[in-house]
């Protein structure tokens, strides 16, 4: 029987989330950025599972399934966009893809 305190588990999930966040903030490669987002999704799902187990509620697991669906869609769209970006700019550097920039300045 698992007796790890729930705080520890939550902090573990938080750490996982933060690693994903740091990756998102530091990497310029769009593939890595997408990966970081996946990590963050996953850690969020982890929190749901932890909480669902704590209260013995099915909702946590249901939510994880939804997160899974959202993550799948996000990845599908994200990768398709990524392909287009690569075709267009011949690079995956997020900083060099800046067409939305305000040109007023």
């Amino acid at each position: 029987m698992l007796t790890v305190p729930i705080e520890t588990m939550l902090i573990f999930a938080g750490l996982l989330f933060l690693i994903g966040l740091v990756g998102l903030l530091t990497r310029r490669n769009l593939i890595f950025m997408l990966m970081s987002i996946e990590i963050m999704f996953n850690s969020a799902g982890l929190v749901f599972i932890i909480a669902g187990r704590h209260w013995k509620q099915a909702d946590g697991q249901v939510m994880f399934i939804f997160i899974l669906a959202v993550a799948a869609v996000e990845v599908a769209i994200g990768l398709a966009l990524l392909l287009q970006v690569y075709h267009h700019y011949k690079t995956l550097d997020a900083d060099s893809v800046g067409k939305l920039k305000d040109n007023n300045q």
Binding site: L25, T26, V97, D102, Q105
Partner: protein, 625 residues
């Protein structure tokens, strides 16, 4: 009857609408016919309404027709409704009649002008506004017409807007009258706050009920309304705009001076006579202002070289007479003089306009001369108008309208000797400057040849007006000539009769005196400007002349007193202190825009960073809270 009344102002407005919307589509002829025709229809309607009114006279003294609800907000209620009583009937008929003749005249006068249909559109709007003014049954609608007239005067004085001076004159007219209008609207507000109604008849009834004679509120309100009337009617101290208003075409001057605009002040005071009767101080002020104005304008007219400016000052002076009559309570005499004045002043302006036109825009009377031989018809009509203006005894209408004013300024309950002296001197001045004009322009040697002879469309209205300038006076004879009072018995349906005190002098004596003074004036003018021009030489080049020419220096005075300090202030305030707030707001917005557009730099990681910072801040705040 009701339909008639409603249509009187609406037909010219309809004409305005047609000309304004589709003016460019018509050729000149059609535009002219629409312009003159709409006023003509209005004249016919006014005459029908007048006939019906006279037939039902002893029984019904006023008709009213309500078209639609104009403003309704809580207690504030004003309808688009007109009412016709004898006062507005007189004004209506004069406006439409003189206005129609002026329109007909303009068809030929303006035929060479570019903005032909624009001109007629403005003229129609002018007449329409004036008719709304005189027919309005509530004071707010009256004010609406009042402002419409002001607007049209602006548009028409600045009609030849390509000359900067004309635009300046138009702005001057607009601003100076606006000073009066502001006082007037404050007066209207006071009336509304006290009586909770705009309806004129009701207002006057309540004023009579609730305010006692000489009560401060009555005096203040009357003074404010008077100030509005002063601005519109170009009386002291707001008379300066009228001479400059000569910048417009001659028919416009005729319309402004004769039928519309300047007489609005007279109408307002006559319409609110109940209120003014409650403020004897203001009545005295009206009389004094009228007397002073007629003197100052008379002297100023003597000093002018510009034909139209002479006529302009004479208008100021004649309206001074009307104010004098109003001030002494001789209501119907004032309205009668308004009517006669409308005929001869329109005539003078139109005839003068012909002279100016055929001499290719020559305004200086001393460069004209001998016009009698060149254009006899114009001469005779002009002479008829001049004689009427100088109140040549017995034969002219001017005599019958001006003489009662002179008499009542002395004999009415509030009249006195000094007012009579002023009016008397004014009569002399009037004759002098009028016949100075006549002798200089029409007699002597011909200095300029007229370029063409005026056509029928111009001469026929002149002849009609000349006819009325002579005979229109016979409907109202002075007391001493027998009891024949067509006009005042009509006017007294609406206006109170003048109260006469026992002076101990017979009226005939005064009539004799004023007849003598007229002949003296003519003789002096004959001597100085025809027989012995050397007599006038020294005057025409003297310092007094220059003083007169500048209109007693009122323009200079206002420049020094008001305009220059204002210009000085605005020079200091070049960057507009009060604008700083707005500019500051705009700058702040621009700054904000710069700041926030810095954040939109197209870098995805930067956006994520912003999210994160925000989340950190929010979470930290929630923990620390």
């Amino acid at each position: 009857m009701e339909t008639c009344i409603a249509l009187i102002p609406l037909v010219p407005l309809l004409g305005f609408l047609i000309l304004a919307v589709a003016g460019g589509k018509f050729d000149r002829k059609t535009a002219g016919y629409i312009g003159a025709g709409s006023v003509g229809i209005s004249l016919v309607l006014a005459l029908i309404a007048g006939a019906l009114f006279l037939r039902s006279l002893p029984g019904v003294s006023s008709y009213s027709v309500s078209l639609w609800e104009w403003i309704s907000a809580g207690e504030l209620r004003a309808d688009m409704s007109f009412s016709l009583d004898s006062l507005s009937l007189v004004f209506c008929i004069v406006i439409t009649f003189v206005g129609f003749l002026i329109h007909v005249y303009s068809i030929e006068f303006m035929s060479g002008d570019e903005g032909f249909s624009r001109f007629f559109a403005y003229m129609n709007l002018f007449v329409g506004s004036m008719l709304i003014l005189v027919l309005a049954d509530n004071i707010l609608l009256l004010y609406f017409g009042w402002e419409g007239v002001g607007l049209c005067s602006y548009l028409l004085i600045g009609f030849w807007y390509k000359e900067p001076e004309n635009g300046y004159a138009a702005r001057k007219a607009f601003i100076v009258t606006r000073i009066g209008d502001t006082a007037m609207i404050i007066g209207i507000f006071i009336l509304f706050v006290n009586f909770r109604t705009f309806h004129l008849d009701e207002l006057m009834l309540q004023v009579n009920d609730k305010w006692s004679v000489g009560s401060p509120l009555a005096v203040i309100t009357a003074a404010l309304l008077l100030f509005g009337a002063l601005g519109k009617s170009a009386q002291l101290p707001l008379q300066t705009w009228l001479p400059d208003a000569m910048a417009g075409p001659s028919p416009v001057s005729a319309l402004i001076h004769a039928a519309t605009m300047v007489t609005a002040g007279v109408y307002l005071i006559a319409r609110c006579h109940v209120l003014f009767n409650l403020a004897p101080v203001v009545m005295t002020a009206i009389a004094i202002i009228g007397a002073l104005t007629l003197l100052i304008a008379g002297f100023s007219a003597l000093g002018q070289h510009d034909l139209k400016r002479i006529l302009a000052y004479s208008t100021i002076s004649q309206i001074g007479y009307m104010f004098l009559a109003l001030g002494v309570g001789a209501w119907s005499a004032a309205i009668f003089h308004f009517m006669i004045h409308a005929f001869f002043k329109a005539l003078l302006f139109l005839a003068g306009g012909v002279v100016i036109l055929v001499l290719k825009e020559e305004h200086d009377i001393f460069r004209m001369g001998g016009m009698k031989k060149e254009m006899p018809l114009i001469f005779f009509t002009f002479l008829a108008g001049s004689a009427s203006l100088s109140a040549l005894p017995l034969v002219t209408a001017g005599f019958y309208s001006k003489d009662p004013i002179l008499w009542y300024s002395f004999s009415s309950a509030t009249g006195n000797f000094w007012l009579w002296i002023a009016a008397f001197t004014g009569a002399f001045l009037t004759t002098l400057y009028t016949f100075r004009l006549v002798f200089v322009v029409f007699f002597g040697e011909t200095k300029l040849k007229p370029s063409f002879q005026p056509g029928k469309l111009m001469t026929v209205p002149l002849a009609i007006l000349a006819f009325f300038s002579i005979v229109a006076g016979f409907i109202e004879l002075p007391e001493s000539f027998g009891r024949f009072h067509l006009f005042s018995s009509l006017a007294e349906n609406t206006l109170p009769a003048v109260t006469v005190r026992e002076t101990g002098y017979p009226e005939t004596l005064f009539q004799l005196l004023s007849a003598l003074i007229v002949f003296a004036g003519i003789y002096l003018a004959y001597l100085a400007y025809y027989k012995k021009p050397s007599m006038s030489e020294s005057f025409e080049h003297g310092r007094i002349h220059r003083f007169f020419e500048s209109g007693f220096g009122f323009d200079r005075l206002y420049d020094v007193l008001l305009v220059n300090p204002l210009v000085w202030l605005s020079a200091i305030n070049r960057n507009d202190i009060f604008d700083w707030l707005n500019i500051g707001l705009a700058r702040l917005t621009v700054l904000g825009n710069r700041l926030f557009s810095l954040t939109q730099n197209g870098k995805l990681r930067w956006y994520v960073m912003s999210f994160t910072i925000g989340i950190v801040l929010i979470l930290t705040y929630m923990i620390l809270r």
